[in-house]
């Protein structure tokens, strides 16, 4: 399926080691570098090149959004004509309340092909954002997939796959 597996391009041990996260101590990269049998400088260079190649999107803290005031969210599935997806992308691009937008497979019985995750300080604020997007793109075919219960949310464990 993958033409070129980038995972193999970088050392998989390095990837797994980086994936575990950084310690909160004075020389955090030293611990990782020693484990990998390399130097801090070399490891930092690997990270910089992975960022430059777009394989690491960002290096830094991952924050739980519910802890910083974004207590409400809604997943919205939209039915967007293929030729208007670029237009939709432009609408959500600069909206800070939209964290994720994906075009996904759709079916005759489920024609929704674009999914957005919208965050707000309240349910009403989320709904306001949905209406703004709907108004801007002039598309009213969407489904609100509000969360009833969270059963699981965790980082992928590469060691267990």
């Amino acid at each position: 399926m993958h033409e070129k597996n980038d995972y193999e391009a970088a050392d998989s041990r390095t990837i797994r080691c980086l994936h575990r996260g950084l310690a909160i101590e004075s020389r955090p990269f030293l611990t990782l570098a020693q484990e990998l049998g390399t130097t801090e400088d070399a490891l930092l260079e690997v990270i910089r090149s992975l960022i430059a190649d777009g394989l690491i999107r960002r290096y830094g803290a991952v924050v739980r959004h519910t802890q910083v005031g974004y207590s409400s969210n809604v997943l919205v599935a939209w039915k967007i004509p293929e030729q208007r997806i670029d237009e939709f992308e432009a609408v959500i691009r600069d909206l800070p309340e939209v964290s994720h937008g994906y075009e996904r497979a759709s079916y005759a019985e489920w024609p929704y092909n674009v999914y957005t995750m919208i965050h707000g300080h309240s349910k009403d604020e989320c709904l306001g954002v949905v209406e703004r997007i709907s108004g801007a793109i002039k598309i009213e075919e969407y489904i609100l997939l509000f969360t009833k219960r969270e059963f699981k949310k965790r980082k992928l464990d590469l060691e267990e796959l």
């Binding site: 399926m1 980038d6 995972y7 990837i15 980086l18 996260g21 950084l22 909160i24 101590e25 004075s26 020389r27 955090p28 030293l30 990270i47 992975l50 394989l55 690491i56 999107r57 960002r58 290096y59 830094g60 803290a61 991952v62 924050v63 739980r64 959004h65 802890q67 910083v68 005031g69 974004y70 997943l75 992308e89 959500i92 800070p96 939209v98 964290s99 994720h100 937008g101 994906y102 075009e103 996904r104 497979a105 489920w110 092909n113 999914y115 489904i143 609100l144 997939l145 509000f146 969360t147 009833k148 219960r149 969270e150 059963f151 699981k152 949310k153 980082k155 992928l156 267990e160 796959l161």
Partner: protein
């Protein structure tokens, strides 16, 4: 809603957006924030133990990881939701699993080492749960992905 003092807010923003890739990243942050490194380390540890910061590290794109993943929706009778959720949760490749409003009431994301592995795991899960209906909606294109929140 939790509130943060000015130093915490600045620190959280810098940790997300401008984490220094240097040998002593926390010392550099301390210098920028005009605070002692020990205080910065203590604050980050507290933000982490309080659950505000999940962790510090790389956010890989999926092509980096070289794995196969998809989003799946199941329609399950109300009385069977809990047991279905437990079955789904038991798979290491499942990272998100939610009960949602609507016709399809369970939505989860699953990742496997290969496309074949993904397909067979999904068959296995469906075989255990026997959902009334299911949808598999893999990503065609990423339109937006922002994993940071400005305070």
């Amino acid at each position: 809603m939790r509130t943060f003092d000015a130093l915490d807010s600045q620190l959280i923003n810098l940790l997300q957006h401008e984490f220094p890739l240097t040998k002593e990243p926390y010392r550099e942050l301390a210098t920028r924030l005009d605070a002692p490194e020990d205080e910065i380390l203590a604050r980050i540890r507290r933000l982490k133990s309080d659950g505000v910061i999940r962790e510090i590290g790389p956010i890989f794109t999926s092509r980096m990881i070289g794995l196969a993943s998809t989003f799946v929706a199941l329609r399950v009778p109300k009385h069977a939701v809990d047991s279905a959720a437990r079955i789904i949760n038991s798979y290491a490749g499942v990272t998100h699993n939610y009960e949602r409003e609507g016709e399809y009431n369970i939505w989860f994301t699953i990742t496997a080492a290969s496309e074949d592995g993904l397909a067979s795991t999904l068959e296995e899960i469906k075989g255990k749960i026997h959902p009334l209906d299911s949808l598999v909606v893999p990503v065609r294109r990423v339109l937006k992905l922002r994993t940071n929140f400005k305070l």
